[in-house]
């Protein structure tokens, strides 16, 4: 695994995924044991149905507490938050979550860029951002912003991604700290947690 040494001490992980994201997230988050101490905030693009079962589905399969993000909720360590379909999800300066209904970005609400950019503002260098498989260009700009604030950036290896468009779009505008297959990202998160907690 490249760069397993010299990992920074982070306080939160943000993740963006689109087409193929459910399987990728199951694999990545499946690598994390109960008691994992970092918060993980996720935007996964899905059709905008009224009520998403995403949190329930993942909660049944994972060792960590999983919940749908609520407006003005404080971010707790060791919890996985999924953005609600139809709303943008942001991180505020006081490290709580907020929802909004601004226009879709890259035809998407929630937008990965909005989550990444706001989290970069709130956490600065204490943030790790992970961009996974997907069929659009969301997340590329946000990932570059995370880097500008000194955070750690990780992109799924396009060869390993079910749909390579999203990781490739990110690689075009930004050289991330790590390009890894999904299993490698899972191991990296375990390592990040060991250093941080």
């Amino acid at each position: 695994m490249n760069g397993a040494v010299d990992l920074p001490k982070v306080e939160a992980i943000v993740v963006g995924a689109s087409a193929g994201g459910v399987e990728a997230l199951m694999t990545m988050l499946g690598a994390l044991r109960a008691g994992f101490g970092l918060p993980i905030i996720i935007v996964l693009h899905l059709p905008e149905e009224r009520r998403s079962q995403l949190a329930e589905v993942f909660a049944r399969r994972l060792a960590l507490p999983v919940t749908e993000a609520m407006d003005k909720q404080d971010i707790k360590p060791g919890t996985v938050y999924f953005a609600a379909p139809g709303y943008h999800l942001s991180v505020e300066q006081d490290r709580s979550l907020s929802l909004s209904l601004e226009d879709r970005l890259h035809h998407s609400r929630p937008s990965i860029d909005f989550l990444f950019e706001s989290a970069a503002d709130a956490y600065g260098e204490a943030l790790a951002a992970v961009l996974l498989t997907g069929a659009n260009h969301d997340g590329a700009r946000g990932l570059a912003q995370v880097k500008r604030h000194g955070g750690l950036t990780i992109v799924q290896d396009p060869q390993d991604a079910l749909v390579a468009t999203m990781p490739e779009a990110a690689l075009k505008i930004h050289q991330p700290d790590h390009i890894l297959p999904i299993h490698g990202i899972g191991r990296l998160l375990v390592e990040l947690e060991r250093i941080a907690c």
Binding site: M70, E117, H149
Partner: protein
């Protein structure tokens, strides 16, 4: 040796100054809005106004009220639809309306009514339940242009097609087309729906309670406020509502993280329908 001053903080400082300037000059108070969203909207405004910095935008809007009114359109988010979250309106029909029927006259406050979609949805529901004639609706917003649009009740036909499906899922009893006249790609809603509606300028950030009400609907407005301003709004709602009055919120909004969580009880929690306890 000179000290270094990080440039990244500039836009943060400029943003605070802009919001302060808007408050001092125009009395619109965005100081306790959620930071992430307001920052994005100001950045979007920079490109619209062709300003290189937030300071430049501040100079422009401070000296030019017309420019400020344009900025206000970008700072407030007129995203709304009729019968948004149909199951919410179905729950109002099934759980709230039977209790509202016990009042001889009803006052409803739609706080943050934007361009009026919630107002027309509520008026249609009340008419079908035989309550509209004895109801007064106060529809308030901070944006005068949104209020003007709401009063006109003209919506694009394209959107109205989507609203039709919502209306049916929300337990609508008639054909949705009964409520509007279609012309030139627009739907002009029946004026009689608004006979008892008062549209008014009101800010949840700076104004106080103006009437006792039986039901308050404030949906997808509080998400733009920080906790402090949310609590101010909940305080106004608590003061305005009669004993056992109803408060209805947007589908992702909750009283749970607020200081007022003990002063309301959920009637239909899933649909964010609360009752003053």
């Amino acid at each position: 040796m000179e000290r270094s001053y990080p440039a990244e903080r500039n836009s943060e400082i400029e943003l605070r100054l802009l919001i302060e300037a808007i408050y001092l000059k125009y009395s619109y108070d965005f100081r306790d809005y959620s930071g992430a969203s307001i920052k994005r909207r100001v950045q979007h405004a920079l490109s619209q106004f062709e300003c290189a910095t937030i300071s430049a935008l501040q100079e422009k809007v401070l000296h030019d009220p017309t420019a400020f009114m344009q900025l206000l359109q970008l700072l407030t988010i007129p995203v709304s639809e009729m019968f948004r979250d149909p199951s919410h309106f179905l729950a109002i029909r099934q759980e709230v309306v039977p209790l509202l029927k016990t009042y001889p006259s009803i006052k409803i406050w739609i706080a943050g009514c934007s361009t009026g979609e919630e107002v027309y949805s509520m008026a249609i529901l009340l008419r079908e339940e035989g309550l509209l004639d004895r109801t007064i609706i106060y529809a308030t917003d901070i944006n005068p242009r949104s209020l003007e649009k709401a009063k006109q009740g003209i919506f694009s036909m394209e959107n109205v097609r989507a609203y039709t499906a919502n209306y049916q899922q929300a337990g609508g009893q008639r054909s949705f087309a009964d409520y509007y006249t279609a012309a030139y790609g627009y739907a002009i809603f029946d004026k009689s729906l608004c006979e008892n509606v008062t549209f008014a300028d009101h800010s949840l950030a700076t104004d106080s309670v103006f009437s006792e009400t039986q039901l308050i609907s404030c949906r997808n407005v509080l998400i733009y406020f920080n906790k402090k301003l949310q609590d101010r709004a909940f305080g106004l709602f608590h003061e305005s509502l009669c004993h056992r009055g109803f408060l209805v919120l947007g589908s992702k909004e909750t009283l749970d993280f607020s200081g007022y969580s003990n002063q309301f009880e959920p009637l239909v929690k899933q649909e964010r329908i609360y009752r003053k306890s």
